[in-house]
């Protein structure tokens, strides 16, 4: 510690300490811990907080699993269904994104000339500087009941009556895939780019087929990028709020929308916190799983 102060001088050291403590303690750690604590407390009106009723309880987690006491179902099918639907959709979207992005990333990194790939990168970034809400809105214009796709299909006579893309959740899945595709491409691109082109040529000279080359050389080399891209896409998809708000059908809920409801409409902050903790747990488990499967460190996932 002394060494630290000597090295930086008193003024700069003070600035460092204040900035880092403020960030790590007051912005990251304390809010999360407080939310965790709140999720174990009953939902009380402000006056009763800190009183005798304010004890630790598992009510909210029980509610998530068994539902309210007045309902007849043994389990809370609605919320659990939404939860697993959200997670499975997020995994599905992640896999789709990976499949879509791999050829593009490979093309940009190894096939295209530097100028072309530079141009491609710039044009990839442009759509992602535009607000997520507006991008979802663009898809909504396409998929709406009287939207562009329906009108074109009706006009050409391919279908007789409009298809309700939004109720079928096609719009939602497309929107989620669309929203975070960039976060899959860039880690993949960075990882593949560092691969030595000679290795590819050597594999070809030795008679390896294209698929085998990719499976045995490119993918193992790019595993950190794959892990990183998958983690980011999964996290953002599972925690997405803007896209489901715009594109989900009235009877499909995203887990974040449930949290939003408990929070803002039902004013039950502690239950909202409990649901948030569930979402956070899933995210953390997914990261750990990715680190395990691909044998990478956390530092390699986020760059």
């Amino acid at each position: 510690m002394n060494y630290f102060f000597n090295k930086n001088g008193p003024l700069i050291s003070t600035y460092f300490v204040i900035a880092i403590v403020f960030w790590l303690v007051f912005l990251i750690i304390i809010p999360q811990l407080y939310m965790l604590d709140l999720s174990f407390r009953p939902n009380l009106p402000p006056l009763l907080r800190g009183g005798p009723d304010d004890v630790h309880t598992l009510t909210h987690y029980k509610y998530f699993i068994f539902g309210s006491e007045t309902s007849d179902d043994p389990y809370n099918y609605v919320d659990i269904g939404v939860f697993f639907n959200t997670i499975s959709t997020a995994i599905f979207v992640t896999i789709i994104n990976l499949c879509f992005c791999y050829p593009i990333a490979f093309y940009m990194a190894k096939v295209a000339s530097p100028n072309t790939s530079r141009l491609l990168i710039v044009s990839l970034i442009i759509p992602f500087w535009i607000n997520e809400l507006l991008r979802s809105f663009a898809l909504r214009i396409l998929f709406a009941g009287e939207g562009v796709i329906n009108n074109i299909l009706l006009g050409t006579g391919l279908i007789d009556s409009g298809i309700n893309f939004i109720a079928m959740d096609v719009a939602l899945y497309t929107g989620l895939t669309y929203a975070y595709i960039l976060l899959m491409i860039f880690p993949l691109y960075n990882a593949i780019e560092s691969l030595d082109k000679n290795q590819l040529e050597a594999a070809k000279d030795l008679g390896s087929s294209t698929i085998r080359t990719h499976w045995r050389i490119v993918i193992p080399h790019a595993k950190a990028g794959i892990a990183s891209g998958c983690t980011m896409v999964f996290m953002l998809t599972a925690g997405a709020l803007a896209t489901p708000v715009v594109l989900s059908s009235p009877n499909t809920y995203w887990f974040t929308q449930l949290i939003y409801q408990w929070f803002n409409m039902n004013d039950n902050w502690s239950r909202g916190s409990a649901y948030s903790i569930l979402l956070l747990t899933v995210s953390v488990v997914f990261v750990l799983l990715m680190m395990r499967i691909f044998k990478v460190k956390i530092g390699e996932i986020i760059r």
Partner: protein, 412 residues
């Protein structure tokens, strides 16, 4: 070799599809903002107009659809978004810088822990950061009682700045870490040996070296803050930023005014991207020229001397712009020829819709009357009575107000 060509060709087609998937929706959205219909669409094209960029319109059924220029909520939200963006930049750039410099100074064991905690916020879903900030500060405000703390703790703008700073600092942190990896520590040591104080080293060596990182992290921080929705929607409480205004608009019903807003944002983005690209290329060229010059001076090899090219070379992309320009002119010409542009067209379409609407209203009333007569005649219909005859009430349509049908009713 031939199969390789075929493969590359397929790859090219794939990339084309991919990019049309990326840009298609945005382009279509931009086009819909010029259609005067109140539902954003292309195929029933009514008129070409700029109304969604200006005052919007009052629809034939009395609903007011605001355009961009007349929407005070958007403007209010925009101002708040700018304030929040500024606050986030002011907080998160120094935090990210401090954390990244300290990371280079702590020893390896602590370093892993420190790094993991620092990048954690990126892995948290945005909603969770917003919620945790709100619940913590609500508690602080309750404990703090009346006064300054309570005011701060329930101020949406303040909470949003804090919540966004939590994870945007990590973005800044990562940018600084990348830059610091290439920092030559001997510079610092040299300065110290020559008698500089620690503070001087920081301001005279480290800060100038980090300047590009400071600039780019400030831009990234501002953009990330400006377009954030997930955290903001919780932490903003009763206030509104641009994104929450857009979200509530989209949820209430989709209007071409949002397309217009999107087009403005897209154009701004394109403008910034092009400027950035031009600056970067100029920088690259300068660097290359300097290097060539250096090589020439060292070797005095006349073959290496490059004449500065005087002639102005047209970039290839000019053809793309030319093509878009010509297509645009042609399309516009076509629009004017068919009378699909201008106030007359809009007025005519309005008139048509209005009369259509009143026709339907009349038909509805005629139906109601004819059913009434049948019911009075003692038919089996009776259904109307079950509903308390609500549709027979002539006052029902009075609330719509201001339509031609009202006069028609009186005459009947």
């Amino acid at each position: 070799m031939k199969s390789q060509h075929a493969l590359n060709f397929l790859l090219g087609i794939y990339i084309f599809i991919f990019f049309s998937y990326l840009f298609g929706p945005l382009i279509i959205m931009s086009i819909t903002s010029f259609n005067s219909l109140e539902f954003p669409s292309i195929t029933p094209w009514e008129c070409f107009s700029f109304r969604w960029f200006n005052e919007g319109k009052i629809a034939y059924d009395g609903q007011h659809l605001a355009g961009l220029a007349s929407d005070w909520r958007l403007q209010d939200g925009l101002i708040k978004s700018l304030i929040i963006g500024l606050g986030v930049v002011i907080l998160s750039v120094p935090i990210g810088m401090a954390a990244s410099i300290v990371l280079t100074q702590v020893h390896s064991r602590l370093r892993t822990v420190f790094y993991s905690v620092s990048i954690m916020p990126v892995l948290f879903p945005g909603v969770i950061i917003g919620i945790s900030t709100v619940v913590l500060w609500d508690r602080i405000a309750t404990i703090g009682g009346e006064g300054l703390i309570a005011d701060i703790g329930r101020n949406g703008i303040f909470l949003t700045i804090l919540g966004q700073t939590c994870f945007i600092s990590t973005y800044c942190f990562l940018i600084f870490v990348a830059r610091l990896q290439r920092f030559d520590q001997t510079q610092e040591e040299a300065a110290l040996d020559l008698g500089a104080t620690q503070t001087q080293v920081f301001f005279k060596i480290l800060i100038p070296y980090l300047m590009p990182a400071i600039a780019s992290s400030a831009v990234i921080a501002f953009l990330a803050s400006f377009e954030n929705y997930n955290t903001t929607v919780f932490s903003i409480l009763s206030d509104q930023t641009l994104t929450t205004v857009i979200a509530s608009k989209v949820r209430l019903g989709i209007s071409p005014a949002i397309s217009a807003l999107a087009l403005v944002i897209i154009l701004l983005t394109l403008f910034v991207a092009i400027i950035y690209e031009i600056l970067r290329r100029r920088e690259d060229r300068k660097k290359k020229e300097r290097q060539d010059q250096l090589i020439y001076e060292e070797t005095k090899d006349s073959r290496l001397k490059k004449e500065a090219k005087k002639s102005f070379k047209l970039p290839k992309s000019i053809y793309v712009f030319l093509f878009i320009f010509i297509v645009g002119i042609f399309g516009f010409n076509q629009l004017i020829k068919n009378g699909l542009y201008g106030k007359e067209c809009v007025a005519a379409a309005e008139e048509a819709k209005k009369s259509n609407f009143s026709d339907q209203l009349k038909l509805l009333q005629q139906n109601a009357e004819s059913v009434d007569e049948k019911a009075l005649e003692g038919g089996e219909l009776g259904g109307n009575k079950d509903y308390g005859d609500i549709f027979g009430d002539t006052n029902l349509f009075k609330d719509f107000g201001g339509f031609d049908t009202k006069e028609d009713n009186k005459e009947e």
